[in-house]
């Protein structure tokens, strides 16, 4: 038998449009991102990024961890805002970020003759980013996004993760063994019998 080695699944189409889960998401995220969402319209980023750079950053964050069916654009905007806020306090980081975004656009022009955000194919955009994935500015954006998505208690339910359980008495009465597509495990009597005698 050969190994079926599906390490990374080929990319299929992203889901477009606003799903029911995305509406739930917007509600769930309200407490966390309200300020960012409100601020995002009228906010001046001139000190750090211009409008074009901000748009490139937003697209970049979305392309790093694309979950268009789960996460609202406003959530990605809040991540971009966090990246900008960090840069505002660190001149060297701000310079790295601006230069990095410029290199992304230059590479996009070189390969596709358009700015990064104008490349319609998401795999092509990802390919542009791959060239910069070992750079500090890229990893700074990436890890900010990682923590804001996968280490965010408000996002966990969208991925089916329930997080903290001890305060609810664990899962012993909350579905630790509730699936039906495989047989049940042994009963207590069976488990007792196998260790005694």
């Amino acid at each position: 038998m050969t190994i079926r080695f599906h390490r990374l699944k080929p990319s299929g189409p992203d889901h477009a449009g606003i799903s029911r889960r995305m509406f739930l998401m917007t509600t769930a995220m309200a407490g966390v991102t309200t300020s960012a969402m409100i601020a995002s319209t009228g906010r001046a980023f001139a000190a750090t990024l211009d409008q074009g750079e901000s748009a490139t950053l937003l697209r970049m964050v979305q392309d790093i961890y694309p979950h268009p069916d789960l996460l609202a654009v406003s959530h990605y905007q809040s991540i971009a805002d966090a990246v900008i806020a960090n840069a505002e306090n660190d001149a060297a980081a701000a310079k790295d970020l601006r230069e990095g975004l410029a290199r992304i656009d230059a590479q996009s022009q070189h390969l596709f003759g358009s700015d990064y955000i104008a490349i319609p194919d998401p795999d092509a955009r990802e390919g542009v980013l791959r060239k910069f994935q070992h750079d500090g500015f890229f990893q700074g954006v990436r890890w900010t996004a990682y923590f804001a998505i996968y280490n965010n208690v408000d996002v966990w339910p969208l991925f089916g993760y329930q997080g903290n359980s001890v305060e609810y008495g664990g899962y012993i009465d909350r579905g630790f063994s509730d699936i039906t597509f495989v047989p049940d495990g042994p009963s207590l009597a069976e488990r007792m019998a196998e260790v005694q005698g």
Binding site: F5, Y146, G163, F181
Partner: protein, 515 residues
Amino acid sequence: MVVIIGSGAGGGTLANELAQKGIKSVVLEAGKRLDTSDMENDEWTMFQKISWLDKRYSAGGWHGAVNHPTLPAWIVKGYGGSTVHWAGVALRFKEFEFKTKSTYGAVEGANVEDWPVSLAEMTPWYEKAELKMGVTGKTTGMPHLPWNNGFRVLAEGCRRTGRTDYNSGPMAINSVENDDRPACQQIGFCMQGCAIGAKWSTMVTELPRAEDSGFCEIRTDAMALKIEHDDTGKVTGVLYADSDGNHHLQKARIVCVAGNSIESPRLLLNSASEMYPDGLANSSGQVGKNYMCHTSTGIYAVMPEKVHMFRGTSVAGIVGDDVKHMPERGFNGGYYLEFLSLGLPFMGAFLEPGNTGWGRSFSRAMEQYDHMSGVWALGEDLAQEQNGVTLHGSELDQHGLPVPIVAKTPHNNDHAMTAHMVESTSQIYEFVGATDIYELPPYPASHNMGTNRMHADADKGVVNAYGQSHDIDNLFVSDGSQFTSSGACNPTLTIVALAIRQAEYIAGEMNAQNI
């Protein structure tokens, strides 16, 4: 006075065993005091709170030298040591795993040797360890734990592929109330520290009992810097730093080193003197060599329906069918498959560690999280002399000690075994309908072994069959760094069994005035 360095499976057990015999000890624990109230159900919070994060470098040919450059190992700094983090798997070595040189013969590029103890000699000590720790199974009569979703998927795949050795134990997690500790509530987060004490750890059992006996003092925030000796070569005490950086000398009749397989050899090397220029107990030259951490990989399968693998114990079941020596498979030694849940944050960090873990396929895999079941596969890691702990030439830590460099390069045996692990696990999950299977590279090691190896021959090992150094009678090693070979199984039960046996030996030698 016995001075024990480290409060984990080896040091914590030894302290309590000695205390129950009325032998006084001081335990020097580098980390802070912890108890169950510190244990939170959050992966990153607990990682930050309990991990050993002092500066270390990861080196050699394994991916972690690039992807985890300052985290070669994932172990605990605190009261209870890595028993706070361990998942509770309490397996015994197989007979052939104590006799690897006799069984495998000479292996090119490896430094395989036999232990100076056998399974027959260890069996009564394993039984004492199982009773102490409340290990589910025949020794205690405690039933194995109920099967959770993730393990039921794995077990059904095992059944359909003709496997027979798969079960939800032996685990040192209470399936029923036992030893003043409650039964498991299937909370999950076992490796973030059990919040109710259902899982055995020295934090909840051995250390408080040793302190209550009146024969043991445990000093936390006490970092051992150097072991001192006299003109005859016997060790006399341990220099340590407290939390304010002040140095103290604790005098000792006997010193037992149990700081895990990085710190233990590091301390012996840092204790070099005019009499022992290569470090203490190092006439064999084997201190810091033969570092082993199990050949391992994570394998996660996407199932057709939701699994919610995070519900319940983290390691909820063990598959032992491949723990056998079958050279026709193309590698020496065997391996276990252990169902292991990861939370969403750690899945995001370990699915594809390093700079490349992002993008469309990564994100799509993460969206399948609630449909996943998976294993941590772990197998025998052959000792190689060049894998080991050395001291940085110039860089010092916060105590002024050279930073340890932990080098690990896989042997070809590891590559062949890993391929077999992936193939077996893929088959098992495909027989229950898996649609995708993801292979994760090794995590920073929690199973660290071999850097002060046992050997009958003083030229080939650091300590004898009781963990007593060949060179210095009153210097002992009491942790997993004693291991001559790694075996396939999780090391804790063997560390505890060896510590119970060592306590008996130390008591006898003290009574006989030999040390």
